[in-house]
Symmetry: C2
Subunit: 429 residues, 2 copies
């Protein structure tokens, strides 16, 4: 049993100028880690043929597999195919399957035929090195391909996988072909360790508190490790067990489940791939409940989250974005006296917003939010980060106050997630 080492090479001037954050490298590293492939090196370089060449040469010297992202577009800046082909000693060639897909894509585009000059430059992005294994691209035009490049010293061929730079396309390629191909290579290399893993999703406390709650859980379980990942506003707790035998790994993982759930009681809302948005939407649909939103400081964010998944129209009727006091009165029937006496950011106001929305939309539930997202508008009594939430059901209105001084964007995100959390509390019971 030997570990398989990977190098991730991300290419692009915009990376080296710091214009974009390199999320591709981290998501690829995460996915490799899940396959028991260790990322030893992550390198970024500019759109420069010499630099890409030297980065690739070095990567095949020190890694067992190279994952390369970027530089597959149609412009003259996109050099990956040319460099990889040159290193492999072959010429670039148009991949006919990818060309056919591109032609059918442009045929469907309105007005495509009026601009025939596009064809030549567009063809650049469906090229691959001659003889490369083409893995396709279900979410885009430039095909992913695998090309072996020989190490100079030992002379062994190292597989280099070239992907586009768009995260959505990388995800599509990973799911459709790349994961399976890498698993195959890992097995062939004799890395037969099996992995059992579970992701626990926690919302409502910070990472340090959550890691404190889980302390010591893996200590007595052979081959077990625990990792934390903050995806604001939630924290993922990842349990991993490695063993030569899959059943042993699975059993050891399962043996910790009850304890994790006990420790994370109150913050754990789900496991696996579904985040809070997906959990709430699916649960609303499954329990045939309907919901409406009444949003002030979140400005439509809760509605946007509740409609982000297909099929959400079964559960979501609509919402009122009441940014001004006047709209809180007109759309939701909040009493002017309530706004005058308690202010727009108050328990009394969100109560009336939630019950007003539930009545008007005729839904089972309605959730309301009003808060001070900042950076201006805070007072000593109600500092930035003060948010009131309410949820109205057939029988009652419950409220909750937040007081977390983050950025405007964080406060809005957190408020929207708390609104979802209040909905989940009602529909899971």
């Amino acid at each position: 049993m030997r570990a398989m080492n990977a190098e991730i090479l991300t290419i692009g001037d915009e990376l080296c100028r710091g214009e974009i954050v390199n999320t591709n490298a981290s998501t690829l590293a995460q996915r490799l880690w899940d396959l028991d492939i260790t990322t030893r090196w992550m390198t970024s370089c500019c759109d420069d043929a010499d630099d890409i060449t030297s980065a690739l040469r070095q990567a095949v010297e020190r890694a067992d597999v190279v994952i390369c992202s970027g530089g597959l577009g149609p412009t003259e800046d996109d050099l990956t195919v040319d460099v990889v082909a040159a290193l492999a000693g072959v010429a670039p060639v148009v991949d006919e399957t990818a060309r056919a897909r591109m032609e059918s894509f442009f045929t469907r585009m309105p007005g495509a035929s009026v601009n025939p000059g596009l064809a030549a430059i567009q063809l650049r992005q469906v090229r691959v090195p001659t003889g490369a294994r083409v893995l396709g691209n279900p979410a885009g035009l430039a095909p992913c391909f695998e090309q072996s490049i020989y190490r100079s010293l030992q002379g062994s061929p190292i597989p280099v996988f070239c992907l586009p730079g768009f995260p959505r396309e990388i995800a599509g390629i990973w799911e459709s072909t790349l994961r399976a191909r890498l698993a195959e290579l890992r097995e062939a290399a004799g890395s037969v360790e099996r992995i059992a893993r579970q992701i626990y999703r926690a919302f409502g406390r910070g990472e340090s508190q959550i890691s404190q709650l889980c302390r010591g859980i893996v200590d007595d379980v052979p081959g077990a490790t625990i990792h934390y990942q903050v995806k604001f506003p939630e924290t993922l707790v990842k349990l991993v067990v490695r063993d030569r035998d899959q059943a042993t790994a699975d059993a050891r993982l399962a043996s910790m489940d009850t304890q994790v759930r006990e420790r994370l009681a109150g913050v754990l809302y789900g496991t696996g791939a579904d985040n809070l948005v997906a959990v709430v939407t699916k649960q609303l649909i499954a329990t045939k409940r309907t919901v409406a939103t009444a949003e002030s400081c979140t400005g439509g964010l809760i509605g946007e989250l509740l409609t982000s998944l297909p099929g959400s129209s079964a559960a979501f009727a609509g919402g009122a974005i009441t940014y001004s006091n006047q709209e809180k009165i007109r759309q939701l029937g909040v009493a002017k006296a309530t706004l005058v006496t308690h202010g727009a950011v108050s328990e009394a106001t969100v109560r009336e917003m939630a019950s007003g929305a539930r009545e008007r939309f005729g839904t089972d539930l309605a959730v309301a939010v009003s808060g001070i997202a900042g950076p201006d508008g805070g007072t000593p009594d109600k500092p930035v980060g003060t948010v009131w939430l309410a949820i109205a059901t057939h029988t009652a209105v419950k409220t909750k106050q937040l007081a977390w001084p983050g950025t405007r964007d964080q406060i809005r995100q957190l408020a929207a997630w708390w609104a979802l959390s209040l909905i989940l509390e009602e529909v899971k019971s």
Copy 2:
């Protein structure tokens, strides 16, 4: 005139497992770019002495300056000081200034004295290589330091700057000492190149069409380059001119402005740091116009964008999220006959949504969207990606149809940006 090339080395197992996104590398690259130092390489490796050693050896071979982040903490995993000292042929030594700061810090910590065992391990993080230039750390305990390491071939000393891994500490070090020190090195190296740059922001066509429109613009301008960056749904066109003389660079950049604006007519909506959301919000506020939203398939996204900046309450009254037909009737007064005859996704429906919203919210403008975001719900007549938009003003209602077959998320993003674009058309005239 020669450019100064940098390598950024970020160290940490959590980076290589993909658990955290490497924002340090991108913010450092951005800061270096602003100093006219070109980041040619960004490398990440694990907390492994051999790997750090080989990464540093290579960095000093190919870069003029190395910025290294991570591995300065107190634990046994933190190896940067030891590796750098070994490469420089010196021993690590406790920096007395940093030790004094740390002692005073722990004295102020409640309960610090109960744990005397901490001292030995904590001292690890105030060590530097003997003879290193210490730059301090206003926001943390581990001091930043500069240590020269010699290239093997030419034998010239390359400055290596070691920083901790916490973004807040890096920012503090940058502002207090590092920026000035790097500017000094750049001048000493004779790199007196000046940069003039402009970002043009384009929306409404894809990157390949936009790059086609700009073809050849920089060809006859000495020192000029053009770059494209897709930030879906917009594309940034970046013009850069380098010259020893700032005024020359500025003049050459300005000489291209008219031509860029002519070529991008119809898709260019702004320049500089403000994206369409910021441009629209600021223009609404500047022209004292108010807007309301009537959203179906975007589910609140337009409202969320229009409220994402502070001060937006001056322009945004509120919105109606009318996901169901019933809500289109109740909240906006769309005629039932219109929905029956033309369907929810139709020009007639969005017209009534927009004018209904403008009347009810009492705003200058109202924008409405109804579409099929998919992946389900498409028909041969109205495939996924069919979106109707309308904008109502005091005098008229204008409409627009989209037909772009992307993912659900992309279709919603695109529709929301088109809504903003329709608003901008009204408020800039």
